[in-house]
């Protein structure tokens, strides 16, 4: 069946998953449902302790068995030790057929490939996968289907009961013996625990894993003891050097600075750029540079931001520091400055659900004026791909891309026209992760394309001196320089699905096939 972004979704996949093909961003608007609920084991006896000796013991206490679904968060990014630590023990116990439902998986989890190959892990649900796991999935090594879902989509899947997490493991920088978790105060600070909040609310068993046990009460708790079954203390939950690095030095790459300047000029010329606007941006060089130049214009024009959202970095926290924004709403911290900024009373932690869940009664992304995003590929229908590389291998993550793009009034994607020899603007993206209806503007080093659906933005830019082009023109320039690449060759086997944030199927990812020349 062809879905709303023109992708062929095999009937068999719809049957296996029980899903509908993607039918447009607002297809489920107003949809009513009953939320799922976890089973809870009451703790009334005041003599009880939640401390458990080690990972093995806690797995036994949680009743680990074949076929279970385990939840993990990715606040420790490439420095995470928790996923591997737990999975190694499960592997040693001979447990099989595990589904990992993580907010994201990255290079820190390359080790899981061994467990995929031996059947310990048979299903993966994640925002995306980088590193060796991505290759393993693309090569068809995962027994089940990989499900790539956005941060908001993961909360939706858990709340609706589409996914039931049997045991959630929450790596916690500090924790007391009764399970009060905080994202700061230890040796592996990550600032916030936003992605794991839904796990704490909905998993049947919740295990806090910490390397910094603190006296009770570890208040104010980011995840409350009322939701935690067990606490395990280990030597290290992560590598602090890789969890939050020092703030990235502002880029000096003129290509990125140029795109940042285009972005800033575009933003300030839209009707949304006025006192009280809201804004989210990413961690790329151009996004960061754009935030810096935007702050200068805000100062010059005496314009304040009402709130900033993220995925936060130093330049966003500087806005708070310099009193240019009323509040920061934080789901993740990308550098030490962002982690340290968390103590500011106007820097608020929010859950992934508050941030982006399309199936609650309204998420923060719906209130965004601007979001600045990146993409691996954008096609002439403005569809974006942020998960599958142009070589067909899964190599990225959706994160909040589809959520913020759908919610914001002005969604801007910054992408250099060419990624090495690969055109980033193309006729058809390898895989659709964010539908073109969510994307308003594409900014490249060669020019800017406004989505024709946004005539209002086109009109607003009438007298603005920026290099505007159509998206087709941008594609043609890219192809004129590097040629039109031959399409990646895939096997028929579907190895993963790209889930729309509402749970529909946006696209499928097929098994990679060894490239064969067309032999003419």
């Amino acid at each position: 069946m062809i879905n709303a972004v023109g992708r062929e979704i095999p009937e068999e996949i719809l049957k296996i998953t029980g899903k509908e093909p993607f039918k447009g961003n607002h297809y489920f608007d107003g949809y009513e449902y009953k939320k799922d609920g976890p089973s809870t084991r009451c703790v009334i006896n005041s003599e009880g302790s939640k401390l458990v000796e080690n990972i093995h013991e806690v797995l036994v206490k949680c009743g680990i068995q074949d076929g279970m679904t385990l939840g993990f968060h990715h606040h420790f990014r490439d420095g995470d030790y928790v996923v591997n630590m737990v999975m190694e023990e499960i592997h040693n116990m001979g447990i099989k057929d595990i589904t990992i439902c993580a907010s994201s998986l990255g290079k820190a989890h390359d080790k899981l490939v061994e467990f995929i190959e031996d059947g310990t892990i048979t299903n993966i649900q994640s925002s995306g996968v980088r590193g060796k796991i991505g290759r393993a999935i693309s090569e068809g090594k995962l027994k089940g289907l990989a499900v790539m879902r956005s941060h908001g989509g993961r909360v939706r899947a858990i709340e609706t009961g589409e996914v039931r997490i049997d045991i959630a493991f929450i790596g916690s920088p500090t924790c007391d013996d009764y399970g009060n978790c905080r994202g700061i105060g230890g040796k592996s600070d990550c600032g916030v625990l936003s992605y794991s909040m839904v796990d704490a609310d909905y998993a049947d068993k919740v295990v806090a894993i910490t390397d910094c046990l603190v006296p009770f009460p570890n208040f104010p708790a980011h995840i409350s003891m009322t939701k935690v079954d067990y606490v395990v203390v280990v030597d290290e939950i992560g590598n602090p050097d890789k969890i939050a690095t020092g703030a990235a030095k502002p880029t000096t790459d003129m290509r990125k600075l140029m795109m940042a300047d285009y972005c800033t000029q575009f933003v300030v010329n839209t009707p949304y750029f006025k006192d009280g606007f809201s804004y989210q941006t990413g961690v790329g060089g151009a996004s960061i540079a754009s935030t810096i130049s935007l702050s200068k214009i805000m100062k010059e024009r005496n314009i304040r931001m009402k709130f900033g959202v993220g995925g936060l970095t130093k330049p966003m926290c500087d806005l708070l520091e310099n009193n240019q924004v009323d509040a920061l709403l934080d789901t993740q911290d990308f550098d030490l400055n962002a982690v340290e900024s968390v103590i500011n009373p106007r820097h608020f932690r929010i859950s992934a659900g508050e941030y982006a869940d399309p199936f609650n009664k309204g998420a923060v992304v719906n209130k965004l004026d601007f979001v600045i995003l990146a993409a691996l590929e954008v096609d002439v229908n403005f569809n974006c791909n942020v998960v599958v590389g142009s070589d067909g291998i899964i190599t990225g993550a959706q994160g909040g891309h589809p959520d913020t793009a759908a919610g914001a009034k002005c969604t801007i994607v910054i992408a250099p026209l060419l990624q090495g020899r690969i055109p980033a603007i193309c006729t058809d993206v390898t895989t659709v992760t964010t539908p073109g209806e969510s994307i308003d503007v594409v900014i490249t080093d060669y020019g800017i394309a406004v989505n024709p659906r946004r005539q209002d933005l086109i009109d607003a830019m009438k007298n603005v001196d920026l290099p505007f082009k159509t998206i087709e023109e941008l594609r043609d320039i890219a192809y004129s320089i590097v040629g039109e690449p031959e399409r990646v060759q895939f096997d028929d086997k579907v190895v993963g699905i790209i889930e729309g944030r509402d749970g529909t199927v946006m696209d499928v990812v097929r098994k990679i096939k060894k490239f064969e020349f067309s032999g003419e």
């Binding site: 000096t252 003129m254 290509r255 600075l257 140029m258 060419l418 080093d445 060669y446 004129s480 320089i481």
Partner: protein, 300 residues
């Protein structure tokens, strides 16, 4: 033959290592007026042939979208320069930059070689221009003769690194060590009615120093500056492009002079400033520069 592009706008001439595909594939996106594809200092001694190969294919294949393509050849004291010229001409470059020029004969030797290559490759004769880099005290003293050495020569450029070595001083960032050469070159270039370009500023961490440097050479009368990084382009263009205020004033001066001339009035005031015919050429130049820079929207 009069080559009209001799006088084109050259506020920025950006050096790029001809051997680096990542650099030479699309420098036009930064909108420099000219690029200088370098076969000389940026290229290691044992890579000269590889750089020529890359240069030839870049010139042949890449559409530089109106950006002038100058090739810096190796010095005339090396075994490379003749082949450099053949390669650049065969590729279809717009101009050759000769390093370390000290006398008109250096220009003549290159001119002969270009002509030979144009004939060999069936190119129209005389289209490829020349610019001469002055890198020594002798070159500075011979500047006027060099400027007048060839019809193909569109300008001269100061190359500060070698020049200061020859002067037994160093680049200080203040410009003191370059004062004499800059003054001498701009006077010689103006006397010969060719263009004059200033040396590179290599400290990319000091953009304020760069800005001061550009402001200085702009006031001295230079036509532009050699640059080493695209980040320097907006600063140079900003300084060398007439402001809206300058353009409006220049328009008023041109119109008033033309009007008053017919009325037989020689001296009058514009915006409180005393104006006479002597201001006419300067005002015209401002408008021409504004046009060439793409910022002029009037009808003069």
């Amino acid at each position: 033959m009069i080559n009209l592009v001799k006088k084109r706008l050259r506020r920025t001439m950006m050096f790029l290592n001809a051997q680096k595909p990542g650099l030479i594939k699309d420098p036009y996106i930064y909108r420099p007026d000219s690029i200088i594809l370098d076969l000389e200092d940026a290229v290691a001694e044992n890579q000269k042939d590889a750089a020529r190969f890359s240069l030839y294919h870049a010139l042949k294949e890449i559409d530089y979208r109106g950006c002038e393509r100058v090739v810096r050849i190796n010095g005339l004291d090396t075994p490379y320069w003749q082949e450099d010229i053949r390669c650049a001409v065969a590729g279809g470059c717009d101009a050759i930059r000769i390093p370390k020029v000290e006398c008109p004969k250096d220009v003549h030797r290159v001119e002969e070689e270009i002509l030979k290559a144009e004939k060999d490759f069936g190119m129209p004769e005389g289209m490829i221009l020349i610019m001469a880099a002055i890198e020594s005290a002798r070159g500075v003293m011979k500047a006027l003769d060099i400027c007048e050495a060839s019809d193909r020569l569109f300008g001269i450029a100061l190359s500060g690194g070698d020049y200061t070595k020859d002067l037994q001083t160093r680049i200080t960032g203040t410009g003191i060590e370059l004062m004499g050469a800059r003054q001498n070159l701009i006077i010689a270039a103006r006397a010969a009615k060719v263009q004059c370009f200033d040396t590179v500023y290599t400290n990319l961490d000091d953009m304020e120093g760069f800005q001061r440097d550009v402001e200085t050479i702009h006031l001295m009368g230079f036509d532009g500056k050699s640059i080493v990084n695209p980040r320097q382009i907006p600063i140079v263009h900003d300084i060398f492009t007439p402001s809206g205020k300058d353009i409006i004033f220049a328009e008023k001066v041109v119109r008033e002079i033309e009007e008053k001339k017919e009325m037989g009035i020689g001296v009058f005031t514009v915006d409180g400033k005393m104006i006479d015919i002597a201001f006419y050429d300067g005002a015209r130049r401002t408008i021409e520069l504004a046009k060439a820079s793409g910022v002029y929207k009037g009808d003069l």
